[in-house]
Symmetry: C2
Subunit: 432 residues, 2 copies
C-alpha cells in the first residue's frame, strides 16, 4: 500500500475552540506528523465573518465564508466546532455523504441525532468521533466506548456542567445568593449573557447525560428521556443545612440501570461530603462510572475551555488520522440494546425537604400525617431558624428511601395545609 | 471481504486473573459477540498443574500443560496472565513471531522489554496491548496512548501500588506500626508472604512508572532509570507530624519533564491533605496526568483484583478482536523521542526531615549550620516529643525548595554530629 503523505482537515468554526484547534494543528504539526505517520494539514476554515479578530489566525488563504467551498475542499476529516443544531447538522451530514470522517464537539447534535449520524457515518465508510462533546478535555467518551466495554455498566454519576458547579461552589463557600453567584460566573465568562438558562436549567447537562447514558447502556437514550431540574431555586440556607448534615449540594447527571429499567436525570442532589464527587469544585468536571467488573472508576478534569476541548478534539483527529493513514475500516459506535426507560416517578431514594411553617403547635403533626398518608417514612426532622416576630419557623426533614411519586403527593398535601405551611422551600434528592 | 465468524483466544495462565478472563469469555460470550461482530472463542488454556482447583474451570478439553500445544493452537490473540519474566517472555515472543496479537497484564515484562516486544509485534503485523499492566481495571494506558496524545505531557503522579497504599492508610488511620499494617495486608491477601518486598520496596510501582513514563514522554524510560525507595522505614509518628502540618504520606510514583530532562522516582512523599491524591485510600489506585493542553486530569479506580484486571484485559481483547474482524492494520505504540534522564540528585523540592537529638542547648545551632553550609534553607522547625529521662527530643524540619544533593550532604553532616544527634529518623520529599 502506498504510504500517504498527508491527512487533510477542514475546520468548521473558528471561535474559542476552533482557534485552539487551528493553533494546535499549526504549531504542533511536526509532533503530530510524528505520532500519526503523515502530516495533518489544515486545508480550509469556514467562518461566518472573515474580518473578525481571532485568538489564532490561520493563513488568510485558508479562510472562507462559503460553506460550499469549505465542504467541497479536498480533505479526509471535517472538524465541526460551530455548535448548535443548524446549520452544523446539515454540514456534518453533507460531509458524511462525501465519506469524510467527522470530529465534533457538538453535544446538542450528538444527543439529538447521534444514532442517525452514526448510521450515516457507517454507510459512508467513515466514523463520527465526539470525545469533546462531553467533559471537555477529560476522556470519558473513549473510555466508555473502549476501556470499559467489557463491563455491564450499572451507573454513571457525573458533574458535567462547569458553570453550575462554579455557581454551586460559590453558594456553598461564600454563602452567596444564586443571583450573585450567577453574575460572578457571567463576569468570568463561565455563564452566558443575557440568558444563562442553557446551563442553570440543566439543558447542557441533559444533552451530555443522554450521550453518556447511550454509550454506557448501549442503547439510545433520548434527551426527552432525561428528567431535568435546574439550580435556580436553591438558596444559601440549603447549603448550610446540607453541610450540617454532612452533605454537599451538586448538580448531578445520573444514569442508572436497575432491574426494571434505566433512569436518567439531571437535578441538584445532596452528596455525602466524604465522597470524591462532593469535593469536585469550581469549573471542574467529574464522572464516576460503576461497572460489574471494574467496580467504581472516576475521571476528573477540566470540563471546558479552549485548550482542554482542543485536547479532546485533537485526540479524535489523531485517532482518525491513524486509521486513515493505515487504510483501516472504522467501527462506528452501535446502539445495540432495546431499553426500558423509567420515569422520575418510579425513582426510589432519600429526600431532603425544607418547609417554612407557622411557628405554632400542631404544625408538625399535620406534616407528618401527610408523609404517613403517602407511605413516606421520616428519618429526621430538625427545626431551624425561627423568626419570632413573623411567628415562622423552618423544618428540615430527611426521609428514608421513598418513591418519588409518593413524595410528590406528600408535598402537594403539605402545600395544602394553609395557615400552617407558608411554603415548601426545597425538595432535594439525596444521593448516598 | 468475507466476514469472520470468530476470533480465537489462547489463554496463558489460569490463576486469579486468568480465571476471571476465562469466566468473562464464557459467561459473556453473547454480549461480546454483539460488541465485536464475531464470536470470541477460548481455544486453549495453558496451566502448570491441570489438577489444581480453580475459581473458574473452562471445559477440560481446553486445558493443557504443554506450552507447544497452547502456542501452536489455531488462534488470533494470545492472552498472557502468568506474570513474571520467564517463561512469559519466551511465550509472548513466540506468539508475536506467529503473527498473533498479544494482550498482557505483565508489568515486569513490559517495563523491561516493552520496546523490543512492540518492535516484534510491528514486524509480525500485530500489536501487543497492555492496559492491565498498570492500574488494574482503571484505564490509564489507553488514555495516555490515545485520549491525551495531542498534549505534551509534563507530569504523571500516581498511587499505583494498592498494597502499600493499604498499609500507609492503616498506619495513618490507626497509628499502626509498619510491621502490624503489613501483617494485616498479608492476612487480607494484599501483600505477598513471606517476602513482601516486591510491593513494600517499591519494585512493583517502579515497573508501572517505567511504563507510564514511557507512554507519557514518548520515549523509553528504563526500570533502572527509576529512583526507588520503599516504605519500610516509616513510623506512625511521621504520619501524625505530617497530618499536623496538613499532609498525608503516600507512596508516589512520579514522572516529570523539566527543561533539563525527565526525572522518574518512586518514594513516600508528603501530599497536601486537600489534594485528591492525598484522599485516595486503601487499595485504590489513582493517576494524575498534567498536559499542556488539558491541564490536570485524574483517573481513579480499583488497582488490582481479579474482576477489575479482567475488565482491562477484556477491553484490550475486544479492541484487538474488532481490528481483526475488520481486517485492520494495528499501529503499535512507538517510542519516538530521545530522552535526557535526570538523576535524583538533580531533584529540587521541599523536604520533611525528622531528627532525634540530645535535648540540650546548642544542638539546633549545629543542625542549622549543617543545612546552611550546604545551601539548604529551613522553612520551619518544630520540637516534638521529648523524653526527659533519656534526655532526648525530636525535631521536625521542613525545608524550602532545595536540591536533593545538597540535602543529602546536609544529612551526612548532621549524622556526624555525634553526641548531639542520635539519628536522622526520616527524610521525606514534600510534593506540593
Amino acid at each position: 500500500m502506498a504510504e500517504r503523505e498527508s491527512v487533510g482537515i477542514v475546520l468548521l468554526g473558528l471561535g474559542v475552540v476552533g482557534s485552539g484547534v487551528a493553533r494546535a494543528l499549526t504549531e504542533r504539526a511536526e509532533t503530530y506528523a510524528d505520532r500519526v505517520g503523515a502530516r495533518i494539514e489544515l486545508r480550509k476554515v469556514l467562518v461566518r465573518d472573515a474580518t473578525r479578530e481571532r485568538a489564532f489566525a490561520p493563513a488568510r488563504s485558508l479562510i472562507t465564508t462559503d460553506p460550499a467551498e469549505a465542504l467541497g475542499a479536498d480533505c479526509d476529516i471535517v472538524v465541526e466546532v460551530m455548535g448548535g443544531e443548524d446549520p452544523a447538522r446539515e454540514y456534518i451530514q453533507e460531509s458524511l455523504r462525501r465519506g469524510r470522517w467527522v470530529v465534533t464537539a457538538n453535544k446538542e447534535l450528538m444527543a439529538k441525532y447521534g444514532p442517525e449520524l452514526l448510521a450515516q457515518a457507517t454507510a459512508g465508510g467513515a466514523d463520527i468521533l465526539f470525545e469533546a462533546s462531553v467533559g471537555g478535555g477529560m476522556p470519558i467518551v473513549s473510555p466508555l466506548r473502549r476501556d470499559l466495554s467489557a463491563n455491564q455498566i450499572t451507573s454513571v454519576r457525573a458533574i458535567i456542567n462547569g458553570t453550575t458547579n462554579y455557581i454551586l461552589t460559590q453558594m456553598s463557600r461564600e454563602g452567596a445568593a444564586f443571583g450573585d453567584a450567577l453574575r460572578q460566573a457571567q463576569d468570568l465568562g463561565y455563564a452566558e449573557k443575557p440568558d444563562p438558562s442553557r446551563d442553570v436549567e440543566g439543558f447542557d447537562a441533559a444533552y451530555k447525560l443522554a450521550i453518556l447514558s447511550s454509550l454506557a447502556f448501549h442503547g439510545h437514550v433520548r434527551v426527552d428521556d432525561v428528567y431535568r431540574e435546574g439550580i435556580t431555586h436553591l438558596i444559601p440556607r440549603d447549603f448550610r443545612y446540607a453541610a450540617e448534615l454532612g452533605y454537599a449540594i451538586k448538580l448531578l447527571a445520573i444514569g442508572r440501570r436497575d432491574s426494571d429499567g434505566i433512569g436518567v436525570r439531571v437535578h441538584p442532589a445532596l452528596v455525602p461530603s466524604d465522597e470524591l464527587l462532593a469535593n469536585v469544585d469550581g469549573v471542574l468536571n467529574a464522572v464516576q462510572v460503576e461497572g460489574d467488573l471494574i467496580g467504581r472508576v472516576l475521571f476528573q478534569g477540566a470540563g471546558a475551555g479552549s485548550m482542554p476541548t482542543t485536547s479532546a478534539i485533537m485526540a479524535d483527529v489523531l485517532e482518525a488520522s491513524r486509521s486513515i493513514v493505515l487504510g483501516n475500516r472504522p467501527s462506528p459506535w452501535r446502539y445495540t440494546a432495546d431499553m426500558a426507560m423509567k420515569t422520575i416517578s418510579a425513582l426510589t431514594t432519600r429526600y431532603y425537604i425544607r418547609v417554612e411553617v407557622t411557628d405554632r403547635p400542631g404544625v408538625l403533626a399535620g406534616i407528618a400525617r401527610a408523609f404517613g398518608d403517602n407511605s413516606v417514612s421520616i428519618a429526621s426532622v430538625i427545626q431551624k431558624e425561627t423568626d419570632d416576630e413573623a411567628q415562622t419557623a423552618e423544618l428540615v426533614i430527611i426521609t428514608h428511601a421513598a418513591r418519588e411519586a409518593d413524595v410528590q403527593r406528600s408535598i402537594s398535601q403539605i402545600e395544602g395545609l394553609k395557615g400552617e405551611v407558608r411554603q415548601v422551600g426545597a425538595v432535594l434528592r439525596v444521593e448516598d
